[in-house]
């Protein structure tokens, strides 16, 4: 059995979640803080689109933008000498785009539910806006943010459609676990497919358990006996 899909998937999902966590959180903070309802709706629509589009369509758009003869793709080739399409980077790109809305929406919901008075209190006490975000809003919204992060990680790990479009299915390079399952079945190698499926099943189950731990349980401070 070829172990490379496991390694590629873990690498991809790990880098993806680091990127998605921060840009998702930043987008959530941006949209949650907007006063203009119209701008808010439009931005929210754009940020959520990858979630509702079929992944192959999202992949199609990525290919359209990042293909080597396409505007962004050509720019990267010309100035950095990097081909994005059909490289390992493209698996990360696909996973980031597809899992971003999950992080963004969870974080936004959690940030918007932070008690307004906590923020007002912090302001009257002389906190800077930056300190309010990291010391007051972030800890208060942490369960929702962490839940969003785990969901996004799981979605990145399972990404298939967009990855196939922009990164292809190159063994040892862009073949992630879901693509490996597909390839094994297509080749009639059911034994290998079973093994990959078991690995995915195990990881997915773990993710669900973790998520329940972070979100379902009202994580109140003090019960853990340590500070946040």
């Amino acid at each position: 059995m070829d172990y490379s899909p496991i390694w590629i998937s873990v690498k991809t999902a790990s880098l993806t979640i680091v990127i998605v966590f921060f840009i998702g959180l930043a987008a959530a903070k941006l949209v949650a803080g907007l006063k203009n309802e119209k701008i808010k709706m439009v931005l929210d629509g754009i940020f959520t689109l990858p979630l509702v589009l079929p992944p192959t369509v999202a992949g199609f758009f990525l290919l359209y933008l990042f293909g080597i003869r396409r505007p962004i793709g050509a720019f990267f080739v010309e100035y950095f000498g990097v081909k994005i399409a059909f490289s390992w980077g493209a698996t990360v790109l696909a996973a980031v785009v597809i899992s971003f809305p999950l992080m963004y929406r969870s974080a936004r919901g959690a940030l918007e539910q932070v008690d307004e008075n906590l923020i007002f209190a912090a302001r009257t006490l002389g906190f800077s806006e930056w300190r309010i975000f990291w010391k007051v809003m972030f800890p208060a919204a942490l369960p929702g943010i962490a839940g969003g992060g785990i969901l996004a990680f799981a979605r990145g790990l399972g990404e298939f459609g967009a990855t196939a479009m922009i990164a292809g299915n190159i063994a040892g390079k862009t073949r992630t676990l879901p693509l490996a399952v597909y390839s094994a079945v297509a080749a009639g190698d059911m034994d290998t497919a079973y093994k990959y499926v078991m690995i995915i099943l195990l990881v997915s189950f773990l993710v669900v358990v973790l998520m329940n731990y972070f979100t379902a349980k009202e994580r109140t401070y003090g019960k853990r006996g340590k500070k946040a």
Binding site: D115, F120, R123, T124, L125, G126, K135, P139, T220, K227
Partner: protein, 353 residues
């Protein structure tokens, strides 16, 4: 020491227009919910921005629409005690207090406030582990650690259980009595302002309708809204007869007033505790009474009466008479023949301030 406020703000079918200046001690702002009292407080703290006007604290301009000055909340040095206390749930009592210290010596200052507000032993607890009273003390300590120049208290007792309220009001009075800062307490509870505040401002519909020493306003509320907010239960439309007499139209009684009757008088009010039972009508302000119904409270009896001979198809002719239960028991459940009210207890009221 003074806080001068003169602001206007309009939004969604409501307008706030209020102007006042604080003196020494605690000023109470009394008003029904939605009258703009919390909005006034939030404007002073800088949480909301008024449309126009000025706010000055000890000569320092916090807000001035003409000079385009609008200090950020953090630069105003105004402490705000929220109704739900707004303690940071992820911080311990000690962290909640020390994070508010502006200077360097955070630990020492926090320690000082922990002692002032009797929070020893609770330093490492999180807010959800505290009782209502402990939360309030922590919030007060946090506010004081920030060394504000003025204190704004927004309904500080309304989140507390009934039995705790009175005890904590006494405690609050204790903490604040030595405090030489401008303080404003906003509430809809007349007992709180009467106990705690030397001066009182009454708001209704986004406007100031009365301001003055608390006891004087309770004694002479002046207009219907102020009388209602200070707890008067009985109102009747009224007509001036002469300088000392007024006719209570809804009750069908002519009353002698203890003061000169103003020309603009439109109503009279009589507080429900101020009726006196008597056997004959030899004295002024006495009228024959008959029982309509009784409404029982835990320690009080509300006896609803009207003047004998009134038609009885209008609720406005009913008069509420409150008394201790024992007193009602002493009367064996019967309304005395006549009721009397002292001339100085007849509140002469106008429609608008």
């Amino acid at each position: 020491m003074s806080l001068q406020v003169d602001i206007k703000k309009r939004w969604k079918g409501f307008s706030l227009q209020v102007r006042f200046e604080t003196g020494e001690g605690l000023l109470g702002i009394l008003g029904a919910s939605g009258c703009g009292k919390s909005m006034t407080l939030k404007s002073i703290a800088g949480i909301v921005t008024p449309d126009e006007g000025r706010i000055l604290l000890n000569g320092r301009t916090l807000f001035d629409s003409e000079k385009k000055i609008n200090l950020k909340p953090r630069d105003r040095k105004v402490g705000y005690l929220f109704q739900d206390y707004a303690l940071f749930p992820n911080m311990t009592v000690r962290q909640n207090i020390s994070c508010a210290v502006r200077g360097k010596d955070k630990e020492r200052m926090a320690e000082e406030q922990i002692q002032n507000f009797q929070l020893e032993g609770l330093e490492d607890q999180y807010p959800h582990q505290l009782s209502g009273g402990q939360k309030q003390r922590t919030a007060l300590a946090r506010m004081m650690a920030n060394e504000p120049e003025a204190l704004l208290l927004d309904e500080p007792f309304s989140a507390l259980d009934y039995y705790l309220k009175e005890q904590l009001q006494v405690q609050m009075l204790d903490f604040l009595k030595d405090c030489k800062k401008d303080m404003i307490l906003v509430t809809h509870n007349r007992d709180e302002v009467y106990r705690l505040c030397g001066d009182l401002l009454i708001m209704d519909g986004g406007e100031k309708i009365r301001m003055g020493p608390t006891k004087e306003i309770f004694r002479y509320p002046g207009c219907v809204a102020a009388a209602r907010l200070t707890g008067c239960k009985n109102f009747s439309r009224a007509r001036k007869l002469d300088d000392t007499h007024v006719e209570a139209l809804d009750w069908g009684i002519v009353l002698t007033a203890g003061k000169q009757v103003p020309d603009a008088v439109s109503s009279v009010g009589i507080r429900a505790h101020y009726f006196i039972a008597c056997q004959d009508d030899s004295r002024e302000n006495t009228f024959p009474a008959e029982l309509v119904e009784t409404v029982e409270s835990p320690f009080e009896m509300n006896v609803v009466i009207r003047k004998k001979g009134m038609p009885g198809h209008d609720r406005r002719e009913q008069i509420w008479w409150k008394m201790a239960k024992e007193k009602w028991a002493g009367m064996e459940g019967k309304v005395p023949e006549f009721l009397r009210v002292s001339p100085e207890d007849v509140l002469l009221l106008t429609d608008r301030p």
